[in-house]
């Protein structure tokens, strides 16, 4: 176990370094763009001034040196200052993170809560009309992207019915109910695809588990179907679900960018988009590395959990 975890951690650090370097490279490959963001075009006539700004921002140093400097600051939590607003990147990330985090948590929570009963029911009644209906609905949901679902919900619930607000965000500190009112539509838009994916996964997993011998012996003992389903089948089946949830965080992160854009939520995704449109390369760098780091950490955690829980995989490594 020990050497395995150590190996995994080494790989993790290596991946994080590579990811941050790749982002740094991508964002900084066009030095002209950086200058255009720092100084307006008309002020660039003065060559000396341009040179001075380049020196000040360290744009003339070789890429590796610049990366080393940025990395040194980054591990201490300093991602630099935004070019457009004069606030630090880390403070902006810190402010926006709760919004995105809450959106993702609510989305995953909703999806899992709906997908488990749906998947279990579909697996239990495999092949019947109920199974076909559930699987059919799942397949439809799979094809509805976040922005289409979001637009539909805005039209129905905000414009036509007026039950929920279309944009904006109420922080949790302002009150739970107000917060829920602003988070439910975005989360639901993202959750549609997730519900579809998770239902399929749970369904196929439970179908496999139901064919195991221990289910037969439980039935022979006279245990009720419901007891067997929820006490004995759910635990082994949830393993794949956990893995899929972890792997899907990446797609979810992309989805939050679109949904935050549509619902005008003050989250990380929207901030990244704004930074991209404003050519704020420090911000783009900071947020992208942050998001990628979270994703790598989640994936590693899922890997580790999977290995820890299932002893068969541990032996095989």
């Amino acid at each position: 176990m020990g050497p395995f975890i150590a190996k995994r951690l080494v790989r993790l650090v290596g991946t994080l370094l590579a990811v941050s370097f790749l982002t740094f490279l991508l964002v900084n490959l066009l030095p002209g763009d950086a200058i255009n963001a720092l100084i307006p075009i008309d002020a660039q006539q003065d060559r000396e001034f341009v040179e001075q700004v380049r020196e000040e921002w360290g744009l003339n140093d070789p890429m590796l040196v610049r990366y080393g400097r940025w990395l040194g600051d980054a591990v201490q939590g300093d991602f630099g200052d935004s070019i457009v607003t004069s606030r630090t990147v880390s403070s902006e990330i810190f402010h926006r993170l709760p919004v995105t985090a809450e959106l993702m948590l609510v989305t995953v929570g909703l999806s899992v809560m709906l997908a488990i009963p749906l998947g279990v029911m579909a697996a239990y009644r495999e092949g019947t009309r109920l199974d076909q209906v559930i699987s059919g609905i799942a397949q439809v949901f799979l094809s509805i992207p976040g922005f289409v679902a979001g637009l539909l919900f805005i039209y129905v619930f905000a414009m036509k019915l007026g039950w929920l607000p279309a944009t904006g965000w109420n922080r949790l500190s302002n009150g739970l109910l107000d917060n829920l009112r602003t988070v439910i539509l975005p989360a639901l838009s993202l959750a549609l695809i997730e519900i579809a994916v998770y239902t399929r996964v749970v369904r196929s997993d439970v179908i496999n588990t139901l064919q195991e011998d221990f289910v037969l012996s439980a039935r022979a003992k006279g245990l009720s179907d419901r007891y067997i389903l929820f006490r004995h089948c759910l635990r082994p089946s949830s393993l794949t679900l956990i893995t899929v949830v972890g792997l899907n965080i990446g797609t979810l992160l992309g989805g939050t960018v679109v949904v935050e854009f549509l619902f005008a939520m003050p989250g990380l995704g929207k901030r990244l988009l704004d930074a991209i449109f404003q050519r704020d390369f420090m911000m783009v760098q900071g947020i992208t590395v942050f998001i990628a780091t979270i994703y790598v950490l989640v994936n590693t955690a899922v890997d580790m959990i999977y290995m820890l829980v299932d002893p068969r995989i541990r032996k095989a490594d």
């Binding site: 094809s143 992207p145 922005f147 637009l151 039209y155 797609t251 992208t288 990628a292």
Partner: protein
């Protein structure tokens, strides 16, 4: 093929046909013709005989914009599928067959790309390049979809390499290059094809999201995603300009998933019989 799957395949054929032969379809209007400038139509018209799906908020015919918009989705997804299968499939089969140090190095570098959430990486690269024409978008999406194909091909190649006929080929001294092309690659193709269909659906969704954010082809060029985005402004007045491109997107993705699932299921039976 069950009836419903046939309908889905028919829709896909219609989309591809419409995208390729858009200019030749009789009666299809110019997607960029703004009727209100010339007094022939108004903005946000409901569906009528003149405009079968109505007009958008710039009085352009929606139906023709959807047909021309299919071109964008088609080009991007086809490029991604072809680049993925050709480059990714070959690379994956190679690294799965050869294994050893090359395998470790290639997979480590791919893992870095795969470590990024898809849309975020796409956003960064597309913004970096600045240009927003179809070719650039398609190439970027194509490059970024190579790693998943490599993974799939590598997994299949690993399994195939252990089969007896590969061992037999090596025993009689066949060159590794020949084995790769004659034994490994053809056996990776079915899995890659099934993956390609599902991957095409994901790519279309991704391009739709990118266009919705305004980072794909720019208006007036029509793309389903940017049609939905443009329709947001007048959503209260007229919801149809948002509905039709969304439906086109949903139908296409659903059909791809449906047909892909069907092919995967029928192929799976055959390979078990092997």
């Amino acid at each position: 093929m069950p009836l419903f799957t046939r309908l889905c395949a028919g829709w896909l054929v219609a989309i591809v046909f419409g995208a390729i032969f858009a200019d030749l379809i009789p009666g299809l209007q110019d997607p960029n013709y703004q009727g209100f400038l010339f007094g022939t139509s108004t903005t946000n018209e409901p569906p009528s005989l003149a405009h079968l799906l109505g007009t958008d908020n710039n009085s352009r015919d929606i139906l023709s914009r959807i047909v021309y918009g299919a071109r964008v989705s088609l080009v991007v997804s086809m490029t991604a599928v072809i680049m993925g299968t050709v480059f990714g499939g070959f690379l994956g089969a190679l690294t799965g067959f050869v294994r050893g140090k090359t395998d470790a190095m290639i997979m480590a570098s791919l893992d870095v790309i795969l470590a990024f959430p898809g849309l975020v990486l796409l956003l960064t690269v597309v913004t970096l390049l600045g240009r927003r024409d179809l070719l650039v978008i398609a190439t970027v999406v194509g490059f970024l979809s190579i790693p998943p194909y490599t993974r799939v091909a590598r997994a299949t190649a690993l399994a195939v390499s252990r089969r007896e006929f590969v061992m037999a080929a090596r025993a009689i001294g066949t060159r590794k290059r020949t084995i790769l092309f004659r034994e490994i690659l053809p056996n990776c193709l079915p899995t890659l094809m099934a993956f390609a269909l599902v991957s095409a659906a994901v790519i279309i969704l991704l391009e739709g999201a990118l266009a919705f954010l305004g980072l794909s082809v720019q208006p007036p060029t029509a793309s389903w995603g940017n049609m939905v985005n443009a329709a947001r402004a007048d959503l209260r007045i007229n919801v149809w300009p948002a509905v039709w491109p969304s439906l086109a997107l949903v139908f296409t993705v659903y059909s791809l998933n449906n047909v892909g699932d069907h092919i995967r299921r029928s192929k799976a039976v055959r390979s078990a019989a092997l």
